[in-house]
């Protein structure tokens, strides 16, 4: 098992493509996306029950190396500033296969 960083990102579904493009650019080995996440934060309740896609979040999980985390965070921060959302970083072990 190899030590990696778990990065969790919650953003508007409408911004999802931009976030994933950013991850691709940094070159992470992969990511997992769960759409239809609801939530509450500084911009109020996002209950996902709308006809429009405007109030729906997506959850992104990527396991990457320490250096990549730095790049992801640097690239992501201005975006989160503009459009809101959350990014958490934690430690994990990756079961290599």
């Amino acid at each position: 098992m190899q030590a990696v960083k778990r990065v969790e990102i919650v953003v508007d579904t409408i911004e999802l493509d931009r976030v994933l493009a950013l991850l691709d650019k940094v070159g992470v080995s992969g990511y997992t996306v769960i759409r239809n996440a609801e939530g509450k934060g500084h911009r109020g309740v996002r209950s996902g029950d709308d006809v429009t896609r405007v109030f729906q979040n997506s959850y992104v999980l990527t396991a990457c190396s320490e250096e990549q985390v730095g790049q992801v965070v640097t690239a992501l921060r201005p975006m989160l500033k503009r459009v809101g959302g959350v990014c958490l970083v934690s430690d994990a072990l990756w079961v290599m296969h």
Binding site: N36, R43, G44, V83
Partner: protein, 330 residues
């Protein structure tokens, strides 16, 4: 205004189901329509209204008046955001003023569809090209509003602060605006209707025509739920915006009626043109604004469009506009 027609509209199944949805939220029932179903019903309505409009359009060669009406529709959709933006800037920052201006310049397809059902019940005919007018009116307001925002932000604003320019490339914005799923599906289905004509109609009639009222009722039930859930957001809107959401649609409707007089449209077409001017978008525009002007708060524009202007138009608006059009016509 003919009270009978208003009451009859009020007591028709689509409007009653809308109220049922409102009521469900007010009494805190756990009634809810799954999201994929709501999406499906709305796709169905776009496809069906587009196809039916196309079949109808195929019958008659589109003449000069049709092209003039389409041009007038686009012009209205581009004009409305201009004065809305100007009004809204009295109280709001550039971003939110632009976003709400775009909302009221663009249209609500469900309002249009509800109006066609209203005309069907009243036995008043309308032209298939009005469906094209609707689709063409979705996008222009988005573009105009973003231009307004950029222009306003490039000069030192009322608030004195230098704001960053709206995000995203123009090509991206234009694609989002004009190939938006509802614009695309309506125009595409319209084209299929034009091409396949009566033969296509023959096989699709049970789906696109017979089911239509039922699906509309089901969808309006959901609209009632969705609108009611947004009602409480109105508390933060303040009197200015509430007044805006009531007065501006009525003003736009009057303007629309004026244009239909100039164009000499028939009663049905005139009503549809008017309702398009009066309606506000809660699907295409909020999503486009979220991407182009993320600083704008969708929690401001959406409740106005969904919980004030939409109910206003489908309950009182439709019969009122019709009465005006008919009284002027006589």
């Amino acid at each position: 205004m003919n009270v009978g027609i208003a009451l009859e509209n009020f007591l028709s199944p689509p409007i009653l189901f809308f109220f049922l949805g409102l009521l469900a939220v007010l009494v805190r029932s756990d009634l809810e329509i799954p999201q994929p179903i709501a999406k499906f019903l709305s796709l169905y309505l776009m496809l069906a209204i587009g196809f039916r409009g196309g079949v109808e359009l195929g019958h008659s060669a589109p003449g000069g008046q049709v092209l003039l009406t389409l041009a007038a529709a686009v012009a209205m959709a581009a004009l409305v955001p201009l004065y809305c933006f100007w009004i809204l800037r009295r109280r709001l920052d550039v971003y939110n003023a632009a976003a709400i201006a775009a909302t009221y310049g663009s249209i609500s397809a469900v309002t249009f569809v509800t109006a066609t059902a209203f005309l069907d019940r009243a036995g008043i005919p309308y032209g298939g090209y009005m469906v094209a007018a609707m689709a063409l009116m979705e996008a222009p307001a988005i573009v105009v509003a973003v231009i307004l925002a950029r222009f306003a932000l490039s000069k030192p604003g009322r608030d004195g602060s230098a704001s960053p320019a709206p995000e995203g490339s123009w090509s991206h914005l234009l694609r989002d605006a004009f190939f938006n799923s509802s614009v695309f599906l309506i125009l595409g289905s319209l084209l299929v209707g034009v091409i396949t004509g009566e033969r296509g109609q023959a096989t699709l009639h049970p789906f696109t025509n017979e089911l239509f009222s039922g699906i509309l009722c089901f969808f309006l039930l959901d609209m009632g739920l969705v609108a009611a859930r947004r009602l409480k957001d109105l508390r933060t809107s303040g009197g200015f915006l509430l007044a805006f959401a009531i007065v501006v649609p009525l003003f736009n409707a009057l303007l629309g009626i004026g244009v239909t007089l100039l164009l000499d449209l028939g009663t049905g077409d005139a009503l549809l043109f008017t309702i398009l001017c009066a309606s506000a978008s809660y699907i295409a525009v909020p999503a486009a604004m979220r991407l182009a002007l993320p600083e704008a708060n969708p929690g401001l524009a959406l409740p106005l469009a969904l919980a004030v202007t939409f109910p206003l138009n489908i309950t009182l608006g439709m019969p009122l506009y019709l009465a005006l059009i008919q009284s002027i016509g006589n």
